[in-house]
Symmetry: C2
Amino acid sequence: MALVVQKYGGTSVANVERIRSVARRVVDRKKSGDDLVVVLSARAGDTDRLIALAHEMSPNPDLRELDVLLATGEQVTIALFSMAVKDMGYEAVSMTGYQAGIITDHQYGHARISWIETLPVMEKLREGKIVVVAGFQGYDDEGNITTLGRGGSDTTAVALAAALKADACEIYTDVEGVYTTDPNVYAKARKLRRISYEEMLEMASMGAKVLHIRSVEFGMKYNVPIWVRSSFTDDPGTLVTQEDADMEKVVVSGITYSKKEARVTVTDVPDVPGMAFKLFHPIAQAGINVDMIIQGSSAVPGRANISFTVPKADYEKTLALAEQVSKEIGAGYVHGNPNIAKVSIIGVGMRSHTGVASVMFGALAKENINIHMISTSEIKISCVIDEKYTELAVRVLHDAFELHKDPGNGIRVSEER
Amino acid sequence: MALVVQKYGGTSVANVERIRSVARRVVDRKKSGDDLVVVLSARAGDTDRLIALAHEMSPNPDLRELDVLLATGEQVTIALFSMAVKDMGYEAVSMTGYQAGIITDHQYGHARISWIETLPVMEKLREGKIVVVAGFQGYDDEGNITTLGRGGSDTTAVALAAALKADACEIYTDVEGVYTTDPNVYAKARKLRRISYEEMLEMASMGAKVLHIRSVEFGMKYNVPIWVRSSFTDDPGTLVTQEDADMEKVVVSGITYSKKEARVTVTDVPDVPGMAFKLFHPIAQAGINVDMIIQGSSAVPGRANISFTVPKADYEKTLALAEQVSKEIGAGYVHGNPNIAKVSIIGVGMRSHTGVASVMFGALAKENINIHMISTSEIKISCVIDEKYTELAVRVLHDAFELHKDPGNGIRVSEER
């Protein structure tokens, strides 16, 4: 008999019919002998509806009161869900963030869980009840209602699983798991059976769609096995877990891409100490997030070309700032390109495999896809290319690393369950 | 500087525009220097909408979870209202039943307030904040969310006023106060400036529309001055307060009527001990609520006729039960009339005035309205008449006791505030 924390998203509890079918799912699992804590989001659209109502009420709604308002969304679903479970002859008890002992800091709208008082939930579990917890919400040490921000319910689930020392945390969503790449970009994309926390974090751009990043960090910190599954099928889904020897065998686990950035280059920057600071300080001051930075030597001796990427939205602003700095420090001209994309290959296997980069470069070269920038991390290699080649690049890399083939890294999964 | 508890009903906070105008009202009052606790109901229709949703989810929704669901209604309004107040540059803080320390018993759906932990509210008041409390809801000693039943927000307001030792409790509704009788029945109906708790209770049938009965009992018990006012006008409204000498001067304060009852008569009941028990025990067992009971002597010596009234809905059932008992005890025949109405005159002045009944009987006789039953209490005289004469009776009694004339019993009101 295991203790399992399950989380169902807004689409899974969008209406009474779906709530009933999820309740059926939960009751069947309970019959199998497991103890269950079910974390629910608000019904799909409810949170947006409440936010719209708040803005109808106030030009910029007070943050404390906005959380009081938003918290009602999950309170509705936990009540309805518990009714459904009880109609099926099983004991269920709903708990708001407060009742479930989810204690957070004071940051309304994006509060962080500081700790969880597990006694209330443990007590109900001991009574054999299915505990239905409102996701996304908590309360601070002054008793104010707080919310964890978008995707917060994932964090609630993983945090509860960690605090309750649950055997597993299952995140039910509308996709069947984590894929080698975006299936909309490449039909050959394969659902991963397992992926490490680190890889999952690197896959943020893709992973965020199925699993809230903060919940992955939480899972990694407390080593909570997280299952990403569909609430509409019986597919086992993807297990997000600790890296192990099996995973090392796989060179590349996934391919991600981002079209959200733009490139800016400042040429002929005097190659003397403090120049990078002079350039990036004002940009940071402007609250602009710089991602990649590459410094290469320029044609002019004692000078260097500095290229970096920023969010597309900040492109013009960054150009202006760079121009200004360029004059001050006597650098060359400033140019950039907003029509770029970043394509990345991710895999813990890179640590133990060599020549991964060359395979990537070769595959892109074969399609005459020019690489503008390169950055590498221990388990990730990213290339900046022209935006128009994004999908093509994803496909050729997917083929180059044979991601469509199942390396069988999921075999041990069944034993682990 | 006074401490005032104000309660605004669902129609007063039905939409953002109304919430804003009520917030304006509250802020203006705050400017005048008063400390304010504002109790709010759910937006008009919200509670019904949530109940419908619950029944869509479950044939008979679990009572605990129904309260969890319903409690969201007020949580929405207190959040929106507090946003509006803050936009007007004043400090406001919303509090759910739990946060406001409203502790109740375990009766989900119709919980009774057992006590109020005033510290949290007092603290916020000390900080100069307008405290906005969710009406209708509380929590039991196990931390479960409970609701007080229909009209519960009135009770929340009066209970808070009592616990906080507030100077006044103001109940804002969509009528301007308590009237001498139903204005829809008689245009000459006059709004009362003051009325005693006891009279207000006797006027239940009328009063219930403007003030929840339980809140009046609470007010009487703790002597909380309750103002019934319209949130759409500046009329001072009606003060429900302790009886005093001035009130004694007024013979009749109001006239109520009820068409909800039916009469049943059992003739020739053997006039020996235990007969009343034999007759009414089975009726009570059937859960039927008997209101008036009159026993008169019958034409047959040693026999009595017993007439009583029951809710119209239970008329047929009661007849059947009475027939049965009648056979058992060897009484005469059973007859009744479902087309009756009860008209009552109410006034604490009756205690010190004589001949009130005869004025009532005379007024009805003058219109040839036949009286079938009479019952009297210290401050009330009720007559059962044919239903068709109800409105006529109300009007002639209103004239007979000159209720259209203001006895000036409100003069001292201004001083009292």
